[in-house]
Amino acid sequence: MGQPQDPRGNLVRPYAVTRGRTEPRRDIPIEAVLVASQAAVQEARFAGHDKYRIAILCEAKAQSLAELSAHTRLPLGVARVLVADMVADGLLSLHSAAPKKGFTERMDLLERVLSGLRKL
């Protein structure tokens, strides 16, 4: 008989890069955009392979949590834990994380998206 199966099953392996943590320090929407400064990239060198890759991607181009997950081939939940850490540690700045609430704010956003689509 082998070892009893870990009830967490195969989920443990992908979360090894987060040292087993599955809960992000803060919620980050899938479309929230992240940006890294050059200085942050230098600092991220010492934060581990995956965080360094994420910092490099975000310095080259502002991009969303979804894009970071796709480019690093890390599952969304894993990428979210790492990105939330990096935001907390000042390695990434998080943009547009708060949902637009008021009527004027929401209407302004819709109008900008509409005009952007028409210009495509």
Binding site: G9, I30, V33, V35, A62, A66, S69, H95, S96, L114
Partner: protein
């Protein structure tokens, strides 16, 4: 977009706003094709993991011994300005991944439910989903070559689509057509927002 240098100079980097539109529909209805027709990047795939036990959504009997399931979501990007990015997210095709849809629609501008007129029944589940959510959505009939051409009214009746939900014909392969679908989504979202603001639907007068 030189955020790095502006940060070093101590200036506040400009806040980037992202918006998303959700493209829903049954498996193989053309969601990724639609996203790819307007996206500035090849559609990317992000994967989410879940346990079969934890979520109770995976039929473990079909995959003996398999304890995790991967749900893939395809998405595209349109950079509209230095400070505005629109993302288009396709929903996972399999209807057993509803909980993933909840994450996708959170904070979305609106959604389009893509319907293949050759397999109308596949649209019931996605339409039911949106019927019970607070998200403006429209129905887009994807006109495949050789697909039976039903009149939009026939489809509306067959699928019991409420009269306040706009319906458009489209070809998911063509950029111009997809653009129009997205324009309809945003216009409908604006009309819905205005209606909410004035405490009812503007059409109801007297």
């Amino acid at each position: 977009m030189d955020f790095a240098s502006s940060e070093r100079a101590g200036a506040q980097p400009r806040e980037i706003t992202s918006a998303k539109i959700v493209i829903a529909g049954g498996f193989g209805v053309g969601k990724t094709t639609l996203v790819g027709a307007v996206s500035e990047i090849e559609p990317l795939t992000t994967e989410a993991l879940m346990t079969s036990a934890g979520q109770g959504v995976d039929d473990a009997s079909k995959v003996p011994g398999k304890e995790t399931t991967t749900v893939a979501m395809d998405f595209g990007r349109i950079t509209m300005a230095d400070d505005l990015i629109l993302y288009l997210f396709g929903t996972p095709g399999q209807t057993r991944f509803w909980f993933m849809w909840d994450e996708l629609i959170r904070g979305a501008v609106g959604a389009a439910v893509l319907v293949d007129t050759r397999r109308i029944a596949d649209a019931f589940a996605p339409l039911d989903y949106f019927e019970n959510r607070h998200l403006p959505y429209i129905v887009a009939l994807n006109c495949f070559d050789g697909a039976p051409r039903y009149e939009p009214d026939e489809v509306r009746e067959a699928l019991a689509i409420p009269s306040h939900v706009p319906m458009v014909l489209c070809d998911a392969r063509h950029r111009e057509s997809v653009k129009q679908v997205l324009v309809h989504v945003v216009e409908h979202a604006m009309a819905t927002l205005v209606a909410e603001q004035s405490g009812g639907y503007p059409a109801v007068v007297g």
